[in-house]
């Protein structure tokens, strides 16, 4: 057996990369499938809601297509980031048991949380920016702004960590499906993606403002339409709070092994 002594890369960011590496390899092996899955549903939403159902101008003075595309971008961040992290971790934890294998290695728990969220972040960004690029082509009112990039990255990270949380709490594949039906599906349609939450009754608004996608769609829409909507900084702050809360819950679950 080898006797050479090597220096080990145990720095925090090295660990994040090391945790993410196997998931990124998985993405590389399945890139075409992932690309199709990432693009297909937002594209269908765009055709169905953007062109099929409504046309004309909205109350804020832009075309409906310019209004709905930022909503679909935020929706992409939810569906792509949540689904890729939750599915992969769920399979690794409950079926392959390779998640346990990782947990027995000398890794910082924060690095595990961030590393395991990387697949969702990368896939979410891929979906969001493809849709964003298409939006810039279809709706001249939309602008590419640094704030939009920041909001999209933050949104993908929030939903990826939510995916990790759901996968760690899931006792079976079925309980993941239930989580999807109860939390993700309502968010998809109601959280300001296809219509403004402000048009709804106060009771519904209160409920919808408990969900992170409402803040995500508000931020991304305002950042994409800076000449029309004032940027809701408080929504960005709320997104950051969601990110911190999801991170801390994930950290707690891993530290206490309540998974």
């Amino acid at each position: 057996m080898s006797e050479t002594v090597y220096k080990r890369n145990t720095g925090f960011f090295h660990q994040v990369y090391h945790v993410a590496w196997s998931d990124l390899m998985f993405m590389r092996h399945n890139f075409l499938n992932i690309l199709i899955m990432t693009v297909m549903s937002p594209l269908l939403y765009l055709i169905a809601f953007g062109y099929g159902l409504r046309t004309g101008e909205t109350s804020i003075g832009v075309s409906y297509i310019a209004f709905v595309i930022p909503g679909i971008v935020s929706l992409s961040s939810l569906t792509s980031s949540f689904a890729s992290t939750s599915t992969r971790v769920n399979v690794q934890r409950l079926y392959y048991k390779s998640f346990d294998e990782m947990m027995m290695c000398p890794l910082n728990i924060s690095a595990i949380v961030l590393g395991k969220s990387m697949l969702g972040l990368v896939r979410g960004l891929l979906g969001c920016f493809l849709m964003y690029a298409l939006g810039l082509f279809l709706a001249p009112d939309l602008q590419l702004t640094p704030l939009a990039v920041i909001c999209i990255c933050l949104s993908c990270m929030v939903f990826s960590m939510l995916g990790l949380l759901a996968a760690m709490l899931a006792k079976s594949h079925q309980s993941m499906a239930t989580f999807n039906s109860l939390i993700i599906l309502p968010m998809t349609f109601l959280c300001g993606t296809f219509f403004s939450v402000d048009d709804l009754d106060t009771v519904f608004q209160v409920i919808l403002y408990c969900l992170p996608l409402t803040y995500s769609s508000s931020c991304i829409r305002a950042a994409c339409l800076p000449d029309v909507i004032d940027f809701p900084w408080w929504c960005l702050a709320a997104m950051i709070v969601f990110a911190i809360v999801f991170f801390l819950i994930n950290h707690y679950l891993l530290k206490t092994r309540k998974i």
Binding site: M1, S2, T4, Y6, K7, R8, N9, T10, H14, Q15, Y17, H18, V19, W21, S22, M25, F26, H29, N30, V91, Q92, Y96, K97, S98, D100, E101, M102, M103, M104, C105, P106, L107, N108, T256, R257
Partner: protein
């Protein structure tokens, strides 16, 4: 011989259920230690506690002198664990699984490439390296899992039911692998409910039942304590076992009781187990 693992009064509860009940024992460096017990006796829970996969309820576990509760990351560097269920990532190739595992331990490219080459040659896994996990049979998957667990050169290797689900040929091949690893200096802790496995491989065996260690010594000493010779006879349509230290005593017992159909044989570890626990090893809790 120094102790690489020291377990003091380890208790693990799941709600009201006590899975491990205040066990205390130590494992010497370089030893091949077997943990034997019926299904649900607490073997796997003990391994999960020692390997930090499950938080302990109370007690102390030291690996190479490092407390696994207080200094988890340090303690994990000394350990390699092979779980009962093969825990390779089936979406990756064998090589990618190995690289991923090496990266978890912070191994740089040069080190991990050298180790993978060295260990895959050692375990004759070279031709399977770039195949997907499911292209391998159960025995080869176990070997690949052992390579993953050995990459970072752990001082202690935990093997949880390593031959469970393998056919007899694959099982014996894996025994050779385990012996080879132990001879190269790695301390091995093996949990099993295959008595033969414990008897063939282990320097010392701890028998666990209802979360408590009820016997701990080398297989030969445990057998000697029970009696080296066993007489198996039918009494009232039930098999009765009697143990004797000497063959002459066993023969005298057979003739004194006119047990014409009795079988006299050497006592096995399974006999010891049944004597101590009152049940056979495969029995469920």
């Amino acid at each position: 011989m120094s102790d690489i693992i020291e377990i003091n009064n380890l208790t693990k509860k799941f709600g009201d259920k006590v899975a491990v009940d205040g066990i205390t024992f130590s494992v010497h460096e370089g030893e091949l230690f077997g943990f034997l017990g019926p299904n649900g006796a607490g073997k796997t829970t003990t391994v999960r506690c020692v390997s930090t996969l499950t938080n302990i309820t109370s007690g102390e576990v030291l690996v190479n002198g490092v407390d696994v509760t207080k200094h988890q990351i340090d303690a994990k560097q000394y350990m390699g664990v092979i779980q009962q269920q093969i825990s390779l990532d089936k979406d990756l190739t064998i090589r990618e699984n190995m690289i991923s595992h090496a990266m978890y331990h912070g191994m740089g490219k040069k080190e991990r490439e050298e180790r993978i080459k060295e260990l895959t040659e050692y375990f004759s896994l070279g031709e399977y390296l770039d195949k997907p996990v499911d292209a391998l049979s159960g025995g080869w998957k176990k070997r690949a899992a052992i390579v993953c667990a050995m990459l970072h050169q752990p001082r202690v290797l935990f093997l949880d039911e390593p031959t469970s689900g393998l056919d007899i040929n694959a099982r014996r091949l894996l025994w050779d692998v385990v012996k080879k690893l132990n001879q190269s200096g790695t301390t091995i802790i093996l949990t099993t409910h295959y008595i033969e496995e414990a008897q063939v491989l282990c320097d010392r065996v701890g028998i666990i039942d209802h979360g408590k260690i009820i016997a701990l010594d080398s297989p030969s000493v445990l057998i000697e304590r029970t009696g080296k010779m066993c007489v198996e006879s039918m009494v009232d349509k039930k098999t009765q076992y009697k143990y004797f230290q000497h063959m002459a005593d066993a023969q005298k017992y057979i003739s004194d009781n006119n047990l014409d159909d009795a079988i006299m044989r050497r006592t096995t570890l399974e006999d010891v187990f049944v004597e101590l626990t009152g049940k056979s090893v495969g029995d469920q809790r």
